[in-house]
C-alpha cells in the first residue's frame, strides 16, 4: 500500500500578510505526502485544496481512512503514487493543523479567533513555498488546483513563476463573480447571525452549528446542479409522514436528502476558518494591479496547462475557465480546456472521478 506521511513546517516570524499585518507568532503549515520523491526530485505533484478539505488527500498504510480525493490519488490510481510524489497542503487559515483563527495563541489556551490576520489566497500560496523548499524540490512536476485551490495554484505560480513545469486548473477562476460573492456573503451572514457565534468568540461546546448547517444547506444547493436533481429526485415524494402545521416535515425526497445531509452534519470545520477562507475567495483577483491576465500568464514559466470544468457550476461558471484559457492561449502557452459532461455542478471534481480521473492521468502521462 501507498506509503505516506504527515508533517509540518514551522514558518519563523515575522510573516507579512498581504494586507500588511506583520505576524509575530510562528506559523505552522501541515502537509501530507504520498509516494516517493525520486532522486532527480522531478516527480512531485502539489495539490492545492478547495475551501473544506484537509491535507489528507488519500489513504495510506499509515492512515487508512479515505482521503478527500481517494478515488483519484493512490497506488495505480489516476494520479499514481507509485510514480508520483503527491504533496497536499492544508491551507493557511484552515483548521486541520495549519495556522488559522482556530489555532491557539502561543503558550495560551486561547484561540486567535478574529484576531488572526486576514488571510488571502496570496498568503495561502506564499505559505506553501516553505513546504516545497523543505522537501528540497526546485521545480514541481505539476500543480493541480481545484476550486479555491485553483486560485491558490495561480497565485503560487504568479509569485514563483518557475515553481512548476505543468499546471492543472479545475473549476476555478482568476477572480470570482458577483453571483458567487452574494452566495458566500449569505453563507457567512448565516454563520455570524447564529447567536452562538458571539463575534467569533464561541465556545467549543457551544458552536454556531445552526448557522453552519444553514450555510451548508445553501452550499449543497449551489454546489450541485439542477439537472442532477431533476434526474435523481424529480418530484419523488418523501415516504415520511407530514403534518400541515409542521413546516419542517417534508413532502419530497429532495427535502429528505437535504435534511439528512445537514442534520447529520457535525462538522469538525471551524466556523471562523470557514469565514476566513470563504472571504479569501471573494477578494482574490489575479489581475490586481491592473495587469491583464495575458501579461501575468506571460511570466508563468510553465510548460503545459490543462483546464477542466463542467456546465452548471454556480460558483465558478465555465466562462471563468474560458477567460483563463483564452489568456493562456494568447501567450502562446500549450493549453487545453475541456468541459466535462458531469452533472454534479461545482462539486463534480470531488465525486465524478470517472470523468476527471482519465483526463488528469492522460495529461500527466503526455
Amino acid at each position: 500500500m501507498n506509503h505516506a506521511s504527515k508533517k509540518y513546517v514551522a514558518i519563523e516570524p515575522p510573516f507579512t500578510f498581504k494586507n500588511g499585518d506583520k505576524f509575530d507568532d510562528p506559523l505552522t503549515i501541515v502537509y501530507e505526502t504520498s509516494g516517493t520523491l525520486n532522486d532527480k526530485k522531478d516527480n512531485a505533484i502539489l495539490v492545492t485544496t478547495g475551501l473544506s478539505p484537509s491535507a489528507h488527500i488519500c489513504s495510506s498504510s499509515e492512515e487508512t481512512s479515505p482521503g478527500w480525493w481517494e478515488k483519484i490519488v493512490g497506488d495505480d490510481k489516476y494520479i499514481d503514487t507509485r510514480k508520483y510524489f503527491v504533496i497536499c497542503i492544508n491551507s493557511l487559515g484552515s483548521c486541520y493543523g495549519s495556522s488559522g483563527p482556530a489555532s491557539f495563541k502561543p503558550d495560551t489556551e486561547e484561540k486567535y479567533g478574529l484576531s488572526f490576520p486576514e488571510v488571502t489566497i496570496e498568503d495561502i500560496a506564499l505559505s506553501m513555498k516553505p513546504v516545497i523548499d523543505e522537501l528540497g524540490i526546485e521545480t514541481l512536476n505539476t500543480v493541480i488546483g481545484p476550486s479555491m485551490g485553483g486560485m491558490t495554484a495561480m497565485s503560487l505560480v504568479k509569485q514563483f513563476p518557475s515553481i512548476t513545469k505543468n499546471l492543472i486548473l479545475i473549476s476555478t477562476a482568476a477572480s470570482c463573480r458577483p453571483f458567487s460573492i452574494a452566495l458566500r456573503s449569505l453563507q457567512r451572514l448565516l454563520i455570524t447571525s447564529d447567536q452562538n457565534w458571539v463575534e467569533g468568540k464561541y465556545q467549543d461546546k457551544n458552536l454556531p452549528l445552526d448557522g453552519m448547517k444553514q450555510a451548508r444547506y445553501l452550499g449543497m444547493i449551489t454546489y450541485r446542479s439542477p439537472t442532477e436533481w431533476n434526474q435523481r429526485f424529480g418530484r419523488k415524494r418523501s415516504d415520511k409522514t407530514h403534518r400541515a402545521e409542521d413546516f419542517s416535515s417534508n413532502r419530497f425526497e429532495i427535502q429528505d436528502y437535504l435534511k439528512k445531509k445537514t442534520d447529520g452534519f457535525v462538522s469538525d470545520f471551524d466556523p471562523n476558518s470557514y469565514l476566513y477562507l470563504s472571504r479569501s475567495i471573494d477578494t482574490f483577483d489575479l489581475m490586481e494591479g491592473n495587469e491583464s491576465l495575458e501579461e501575468i500568464f506571460k511570466r508563468f514559466k510553465v510548460g503545459r496547462v490543462l483546464i477542466l470544468g463542467v456546465d452548471e457550476d454556480y460558483i465558478f461558471p465555465f466562462e471563468c475557465l474560458e477567460e483563463v484559457f483564452d489568456a493562456f492561449k494568447n501567450t502562446a502557452k500549450d493549453v487545453s480546456i475541456k468541459k466535462l459532461p458531469s452533472l454534479n455542478g461545482h462539486d463534480s471534481f470531488l465525486v465524478d472521478h470517472e470523468n476527471f480521473g482519465p483526463n488528469i492521468k492522460k495529461f500527466l502521462e503526455a
Copy 2:
C-alpha cells in the same frame, strides 16, 4: 385617471380545502378592479399574482400609490384600462385582505396562525371563482398568470374549463422542480429557525424579521440572474470602509446592494403567509392524478395561449414553459412561446416592462 375600486367577497362556510379540511369560518377574498366592465361583459382580464403582491396592481384616482405592475397596467398602458376591465385578486393565504394565517379568528383578537388550513394552488384558484361570479362575468377575456400566478391560472382553467377565452402564462410551470423546492425549503427553514417565529405564534411587535431578511437575501440572489449582476456590479468595490475582523463589512458593491435591500426590508408581509404560499408552490402539480398535460389541456376551452419567459430563471427554468408549450401544441391549441431577452431572471416580468409589455399588448390586440 383610471377609475378603480377595492372590494371583497365573503365566501360562506363551509369551504372545503383540497386537503379535506372543512373550514367552518367565512373566508374573505379581496380584489381590485381597474377600468370599466362593458355591457357585454367580455372585456375582463384577470391577473393572478405571484407570491408577494397584493391586489393593488396599478394606481388609480382612488388609490394613487403605484401598484405592483404599474408600468404594465393603466390608462393607455400595455394593458389599457380604458379598454379592459382588469381584476386582480389577493390570493387566499396571503395577508393583504384575503383570508389566511394572518387573519383573525371570528370575534377574537387571535390570529389563525398555523391553525389555518393548508392552502394549495387549487384552493387559491377555487376561491377566485366567487369574485368572477360576483362581477357577473361568465367568460373572462384573458387570464394572465405570472410566476405562482401562472400555476393559479392553470388550476383555475382546469377547474373551470370555460372560464376564459385566452390565457397568458409567464415564468411559471405546471409543477416545480427539485432545485426550486430546495431553495424555498431553505427560505422557510430560515424563517422557522428565527427564535421570534415561536411555531408561528409570534407577536406583531416581535416578528421573525431576521429570518425574513435572510429568506429575502436568498430570494434576491435566486430571483435575478448572474448575467445581470456581472454587467451591473462586476467586481466593483464598495466605497464603504471595512475592517478585517468585521465580517459584516462589505468589500464589493454587490454586497452593499444586497445589504441595503435587506436591511431596509421591513416587510408588511406576514411570515406565516409567506410559509403557506411558498409551500403551495412546491406541492402544486397540475398533472396530479396521473393525467398527462395533454389530457388536461385538451379540456381547456381556451382560444389562444401565450407563454412568456426568460433565460436564467432559477425558480421556473424556461424548460418548464417549453413543457407547457409542447403539451398545448399537441392538443392543437393556438399557442405561442417566446423567450424574452431579459437579464433579470425570474423577476424579469416585474421589472422589464419594455420586453414584457409589448408582447402582452400585441397578444391582447390580436
